[in-house]
Symmetry: C2
Subunit: 219 residues, 2 copies
């Protein structure tokens, strides 16, 4: 299967979610000087079935060598091109509170082709300041700057009560993809990409497992 076909029909989401893991793992192995890496080896470290690894990597277009594995350097480059990690997108973040600030400083975004170039808020105390080199503007400046810098991707880290309104504004200003960190279920038109990252979903999963475990142990 050729890599370009996937661009059209879309890659399975679980595969996409695993790509950063592969990338991180392969990158480290490259730094350690490894030349070849096999799917079973990757699978063992990442706790994945080796067939899964093989199928995932096939999407990037690399070919492995029987008995030897994948050439580390080729594989790393394949993942990066396939995922677009080396093509940097500029991103705006709205809501320079605690979480927003932490996100701006989050390490490794650039490694994945993303650069937060400006933050926005409506708190006069914050406007004009910088968060780790990233300037904070009043939300009013969003539209013009987005146009100027051709920004299509926005992150929302506002208080929940502002989330929907901010999303509506962003969309009216030409944003195509929104990454929402608030617990709000933001409603967007069908053509807009929205990704909700809810801490609570993950919390629910782990709490459920923990309670399940504890209830079994108490039998």
């Amino acid at each position: 299967m050729e890599a370009n076909e996937n661009k059209i029909k879309g890659i399975p989401e679980p595969t996409v979610r695993r790509m950063p893991q592969y990338h991180n793992y392969v990158k480290n192995k490259k730094i350690q000087g490894e030349i070849y890496l096999s799917a079973p080896a990757i699978g063992r470290s990442l706790r994945l079935d080796s067939t899964q690894v093989t199928k995932d990597l096939a999407y990037t277009g690399v070919a492995g060598k029987p008995r030897i594995g994948y050439h580390v350097e080729t594989l790393l480059a394949a993942i990066e091109t396939f995922m677009g990690f080396n093509q940097i997108d500029h991103v705006f973040l709205v809501g320079a509170g605690n979480f927003g600030t932490a996100l701006v400083g989050y390490p490794g975004f650039d490694e994945y082709g993303v650069k937060i170039v400006a933050a926005f808020d409506n708190d006069p105390k914050k406007i004009g300041s910088k968060i780790r080199g990233v300037p904070v503007f009043h939300i009013d400046k969003f539209r013009d700057l987005a146009q100027e810098m051709n920004v299509k991707f926005g992150i929302i880290t506002t208080p929940p009560q502002n989330a929907q309104q901010v999303a509506d504004l962003m969309i009216s200003w030409g944003i195509l993809a929104i990454w929402n960190f608030t617990p709000v279920n933001i409603q967007v038109p069908k053509h807009i990409i929205i990704q909700n990252t809810s801490i609570y979903a993950n919390l629910a999963v782990i709490m459920n497992k923990l309670h399940h475990k504890l209830s079994i142990e108490n039998l």
Copy 2:
């Protein structure tokens, strides 16, 4: 199907992940004074198939009324008991950096039965201080305090290079469940619950959708 059976055989993970959404939605509707709520109505707001909603809610043990829906108050209580939201677990957080600090202040944890009661770090400047009322201790205090307070759940927000070591220590100190916010693939014994919350997996999904969209538009 009875609620208790699920405790034993485990609930589908997607269902668990949706529970906080239902909870949040139903809670708001209760505040707004709604008495009954139907699965189709919930589905429309949360962009879920109505059968999905029905099946998910069935796990909590509630019964709905044909033509009317679910009694809001009963439903809310059912979700909370089912998920254990009203039984508070004390949690420790290791790594009082930017992200850790943001997490400590994250609103709504208590609503989901979780309370971060202490943070730990190895930076002398931070020790003795408080983050929104939560005391910061030296990591050396972890073991004794965990025993004292019967803490079984730990959050890791350290720099990546310390993540594995912190996890190993936590486990040796009796922690049963770890919520890992670092990009590291932490290795744990099989009986330990680990939940990796990687910002990068979500980032990869949205970037992939965005690139896909843009590549189609440029045809």
